[in-house]
Amino acid sequence: MILRGRVWKFGDDVNTDVIIPIHYCTSGDPQEFGRHCMEGIDPDFPKKVKPGDIVVAKRNFGCGSSREPAPIAIKMAGISCVIAKSFARIFYRNAFNAGLPILECEDAPDAIEEGHEIAVNLDTGEIQDLHLGRSFQAKPIPPFMQDLLREGGLMNHLAKQLNLRKVAG
């Protein structure tokens, strides 16, 4: 699957408190998470994002709390993918569980600038900066996690395994 979008750049240690402050998390409403995405850094961020845009950040993206509304907020704001040098581990798991594709890549975040148009191949991990005309290789998504994504996430995987009624996608 190939994603194509415009880049929003962020730095090191973007934490879950700035991605989505906890008082919005009690609503349980994904739309509300999206409306407040990145509020601690740029309250206008959700208004500026066009569906399909891509976040590119530096180290330790998503550090801090275990709140899964963090990747959900990013997804609901319209972001199609996050690329970073590294992710905090709970965020990494949560992103897969929330269906937000994320890729780890060491050199792309140094080269790609805000506003660049990029194309991301989720199967191979290839990242192309169409503005620079350069390609970068992200770490491939582990096969086990690709299987989980294919099955529609961990809960759907379990529903199938335990022979449960699957209500919604």
Binding site: D13, N15, D17, V18, P21, I22, H23, C25, T26, S27, G28, E39, G40, I41, R59, N60, C63, G64, S65, S66, R67, E68, P69, S86, A88, R89, I90, R93, N94, N97, A98, P142, F144, G153, L154, M155, N156, L158, A159, L162, L164, R165, K166, V167, A168
Partner: protein, 420 residues
Amino acid sequence: MTITEKILAAHAGVEKVDPGELINSKIDIVMGHDISTPVAIDELERIGADRVFDKDKIVLVMDHFVPNKDIRSAENSKRVREFAKRHQISHYFEVGDGGIAHALLPEKGIILPGDVVVGGDSHSCTYGALGAFATGVGHTDLAAAILTGELWFKVPESTKFVYDGKLPKWTEAKDLILYTIGDIGVDGALYRAMEFTGKVVEQMPMSGRLTMANMAIEAGAKNGIFEPDRITEAYLREKTARPMKRYESDRDAAYAEVKEYDVGRIEPQVAFPHLPSNTKPINEVGDIAIDQAVIGSCTNGRIEDLRVAAQVLRGNKAAPYVRLIIIPATQEVYRQAVQEGLFEIFLNAKAAISTPTCGPCVGGHMGVLAKGERVISTTNRNFVGRMGHSESEIYLANAAVAAASAVKGRIAHPEEVVKT
């Protein structure tokens, strides 16, 4: 193998595991609270699963926005309460008989050495103080654990931290972990296990170990862990009858890194905005006026912390216009503080004493900050907007420093207040 690898191997039903390996692990204890559990229940309902893997191994604690701060949080708590009733969850802790989960579960003897524990909260790594493998997860993983009692993990590499030397008078476990995070950075242990060792740790009471393991996540770690010893056994005696398994790291266990510290050189630390790694020794802090001081949380809300605070606050008062907020972490800590006469000291110091809650640490209630305000806090995170307005500032410190700062109205060394 390291202690972390041994626990994970045993729970995956294999002889040996290596870092990087993906395993499916059995889980001994699953913890959820009033923020993470309602959404986990949504996930369970979505796939039509109305059951739990073991009603005796699930712990539900109402601790974040309690006593409920608004209608939304009341609805969330109600949801969890009804779930607990329907599935007859044995360990359900309500307002008035519980407290902050990460202080409460160890106190109740629910966590044992050798356990694998997951919690729908990032500070679930606290339980590693007891020699368990414990880590935080999001609400989907929490739902999966509640349903199946199993989760997949990538076996982490371990970093060994060795603390030797003699602790200076006002230096606490909080300062050792802040100093460590300052040294290695907020991603210095990313994806790894932090194994805390050394002569200082061997003498350290459980309260200090809980404080250190609590903040492993602030260095990006998957878990923080201490080898169980006589102090662990003494702490758990009379708390539980459940059999425990003591694991120790092999002498030839492989570590990604070993860090050694002479604690004699570590002064009380203050983490400046907006990262826990942004630490300075207290003598280099300079003149920083504060509006509020908070003493409490899963990091430093235990009786030992309140005793240290009382030692500093005895005969003193919070400075004019400074709010001093003290929050015992559990109902038992609260009771003990009353019995030891600490409340009298706190009340005389103009402290507002709260029932146990995570409240201000997450910017929930009981001490949220206005624009431009500064707090010194014994909590664990000082990210932008964590405790209130995005233009407020959080300084992290131990309980003695927070208490002394409340008295002086600026960040202060305890020695400025307590004459020794």
